[in-house]
Subunit: 346 residues, 2 copies
């Protein structure tokens, strides 16, 4: 599907749920960006879930997002249950703006929903010639060493740095071995999971994607420890802890919500940005020229495949599964939103 038609449809859908045009376009941009990058699990496949969150009131279509600058290098964004893309885009823009004067800034986001692919926000800092860092903490859905239950969240980490001739180098990783979206993909393809990636809801190790329910943390104590510290930082600094509330067992404690921390570092305050970009380029070149284990396999750096897919899909359009197209079409029909000709009629 052409990117432009998809943007119009998704944005119109969000408008029909009461979002402002500005918020609808931001939310659309983050989702379509993920599709363009090839991260379809975080793309417009999430639209039905967002609509559900708006309907049941867990996400706020007309949030009063406030920014409180607490000290010159820190701020807190109260998301008022805004969709993650609305709150986090605002937060990273604040971080970039503050970092211009202080050299670095750290903005916490309290109480948002579904942040999407967080590489979007760190790349945003890189587009301003800054380095971007981001972490998110959410509702437990991953095991913890010694307990094969939903103990902590698959909370991601992203770091992005601007390059020169190469695309922005963007790490965007969950702290789990495997994403829940990837398990669903393997299930659809009828392929087994790798060993040690997930357990069933009863905590038994499995490679059957139909049974796999709880991903395991990457590197055991390492991935679990990162997730736990992200929770303590994000939940602690925003005074909105999720993990203890979740395990308290109340309905409110299990409600979907996320906290985040985003950081921008003004490279120019350390060193000329062009020199930094050249260093990143030289580092990428050194990695790509490593002696390969398999002479036919290309060595990639973080974000490289995504940048390539972005170019391809920007030109050729975004492939979307028929089931998703039908679901978007139905959602549009339900709200009287114009259905683009690429979609099945309802």
């Amino acid at each position: 599907m052409p990117e432009k038609s998809l943007r119009t449809l998704v944005s119109d859908l969000f408008l029909s749920y009461g979002l402002t045009r500005d918020h609808a376009e931001t939310l659309t941009d983050v989702l379509v960006w993920a599709n363009l990058r090839g991260v379809d699990s975080h793309g417009v496949s999430r639209v039905p879930r967002y609509l559900e969150l708006f309907e049941n009131g867990q996400a706020n279509a007309r949030p009063d997002v406030t920014v409180d600058v607490l000290r010159p290098a820190i701020a807190i964004v109260d998301a008022d249950s805004a969709p993650g893309p609305v709150a986090l885009t605002r937060a990273m823009d604040e971080a970039v703006s503050m970092a211009r004067s202080t050299g670095a800034a750290w903005v916490a986001v309290r109480g948002t929903v579904h942040t999407g692919a967080i590489g979007y926000y760190t790349e945003r800092a890189a587009q301003y010639g800054m380095a971007g860092l981001g972490i998110v903490a959410g509702v437990p859905n991953m095991a913890y060493p010694g307990s094969n239950t939903s103990a902590v969240a698959t909370s991601p980490l992203s770091v992005a740095v601007p390059a020169g001739k190469h695309p922005t180098v963007t790490l965007d990783m969950a702290t789990a071995v495997i994403a829940l979206g990837r398990i669903a993909q393997l299930k659809a393809q009828g392929k087994p999971l790798p060993e040690g990636a997930a357990v069933t809801k009863d905590g038994r190790p499995t490679t059957d994607p139909a049974e796999a329910a709880i991903p395991l943390p990457v590197g055991g104590a390492k991935g679990a420890g990162m997730s736990l510290l992200f929770e303590m930082l994000a939940g602690g600094l925003t005074a909105n802890p999720i993990v203890p509330a979740y395990h308290g067992g109340t309905e409110e404690g299990r409600r979907h919500r996320q906290n985040a921390l985003l950081m921008a570092i003004d490279i120019a305050a350390f060193t000329p940005v062009e020199q930094f970009r050249s260093t990143v380029d030289a580092t990428v070149d050194a990695i790509k020229a490593l002696p390969p284990s398999d002479p036919d396999a290309e060595i990639l750096v973080p974000g490289e495949r995504g940048a390539r897919t972005f170019d391809e899909r920007s030109a050729a359009g975004i492939p979307l599964p028929a089931k998703l197209l039908a679901s978007l079409s139905q959602a549009a029909a339900d709200k009287g939103v114009a259905i683009p000709e690429e979609l099945p009629s309802v």
Copy 2:
């Protein structure tokens, strides 16, 4: 060996190599702290290596460590090849001091050697009631997906947050599946490595600790990506890149050196510190009360085992292998340093 005798010996040894008393004590404190925590691979077993670095000039016994505050929330410490503990302790103290006014501060360290266990520096921030973050980038010694060579470094990440009734929660993890020190331990014990932890110097997978030379990154692209981004940040911001220089193949490019980034976040600027500590306590309690997979196994949080070992060893002394004791004894004899009675005479 009693902690006090060990401190005196190690500090006297460093003094005999020309360090100031202040620097000798800081370096000793970081190494002995690692032993007290049970991280013997980063403890006084490194003393012979430091002495070698002082002798061959790769480490500077009388460094001119300078601090340049570039903007209110960022600074750069030029280590002048000071031992890591000297440079990084200074850097974290600067970060803490700056964060008091700006809310958060980020201090880069250029050109240090052997940082030791970086949990020491992040815990230092926690002792001031702040959250501490740290990353280090060093000389390649770990594989990269698609190249089973020394491609990137096992560069660590540490995050520490202060708790209330519980010990400080401290994550301190390398980006490798297994530490080189752990491979040496397994070799000494005649035990095999886990599968998928390391390769031989020719890049063949192995579980034989005698053959294992190059650790693999934790989670493949995830650990490797973290290491690479840490290098780009630390090497780029300090204009002292290591990875491209190393792969350039010159002797200078392969010289031992490290860059680091340390961050302090002033919790009190976000929320009352007591509330933050309570949140951390409640999170620890929730994790430790998770339904266990093995009813006889305790669920641990990051840093918990280290804190327990710290208490035990502070009381009972630090167990050190006979070979290391003999080596320290010999080093002391060579320099005319008094040998404590616990050590073998030379």
